[in-house]
């Protein structure tokens, strides 16, 4: 067995699961062999981007329908960490959501910008009747 770490979990589209998935993301960072960076910071960032991505999937893509599920796949090897968040909704326009600079006193709109700032690559596309937000973080 190599150093690959993988998690695949499906949750109902409800915000009460945010903390649980965030903690799984944090714990995965401590399971990464050979990561030389600041683990505490990376753990916080994964918790954050997973929380933001799942909140987007629940609120914007699934339109708060609790019967629509969210699937989360996280895989990591020594080079990179890939997180995929699948929604069953009508999707959203990633470019539009991330296009404008958020006004300093805006109450919403920072989620996608936070993800973009903390991840190296972010894409949102259609995949087998679902949508997937794919986020990649290089580990060195």
């Amino acid at each position: 067995m190599g150093d690959k770490v993988e998690v695949d979990i499906t949750i109902p589209g409800q915000t009460r699961y945010l903390g649980l998935i965030g903690r799984i993301g944090e714990n995965m960072v401590y399971a990464l062999a050979g990561y030389a960076g600041d683990r505490e910071e990376l753990a916080y960032h994964l918790n954050l981007v997973l929380t933001e991505a799942i909140t987007n999937a629940i609120c914007h893509a699934n339109k708060n329908n609790p019967e629509k599920n969210i699937q989360i796949q996280i895989s990591a090897n020594e080079n990179q960490l890939i997180m995929k968040v699948f929604d069953e909704g009508c999707g959203f326009d990633l470019q539009k959501m991330a296009g404008d600079e958020v006004k300093q006193t805006a109450e919403c709109g920072r989620g996608i910008q936070i993800i973009r700032r903390l991840m190296d690559d972010v894409a949102y596309h259609r995949s087998h009747n679902r949508n997937v937000l794919e986020m990649t973080k290089k580990l060195h």
């Binding site: 965030g22 954050l48 989620g111």
Partner: protein, 111 residues
């Protein structure tokens, strides 16, 4: 959202008794602050010393409180930020919007 509220004169100190502020509890936090504004209390200190994690929804709730307090000639100040929480304010540049103090006492003296 678990909050502990104390009053010192016309200043209300809100101690957030949650480890996380996210989309699950930030809506109720906003409503709890709005209830204070409706009672005419608009000078707030939010003590975040128990909060280990805040996302964009939590930040949005604080911005909402700040704007509501300012619109009523009051203010909303923050204190007790843990390092990772503080980094969230810097990442989103919200540290330029809020007055942030180390302790409740310092925040109180600034009013």
């Amino acid at each position: 959202m678990q909050l502990e509220t104390k009053e010192h004169g016309d200043i209300v100190i809100i101690d957030v008794k949650e480890e996380r502020m996210d989309a699950h509890n930030s809506g109720t936090f906003k409503e709890q602050m709005l209830a204070l504004f409706d009672e005419g209390r608009c000078r707030l200190i939010i003590n975040l010393s128990n909060v280990r994690f805040v996302d964009s929804s939590g930040l949005g709730a604080l911005v909402s409180g700040f704007k509501n307090a300012s619109a009523r000639d009051g203010n909303l100040k923050l204190c007790g930020l843990q390092p990772q929480v503080r980094s969230m304010f810097e990442l989103t540049r919200l540290h330029r919007v809020f007055e942030i103090f180390t302790t409740v006492e310092e925040a109180q003296e600034s009013f």
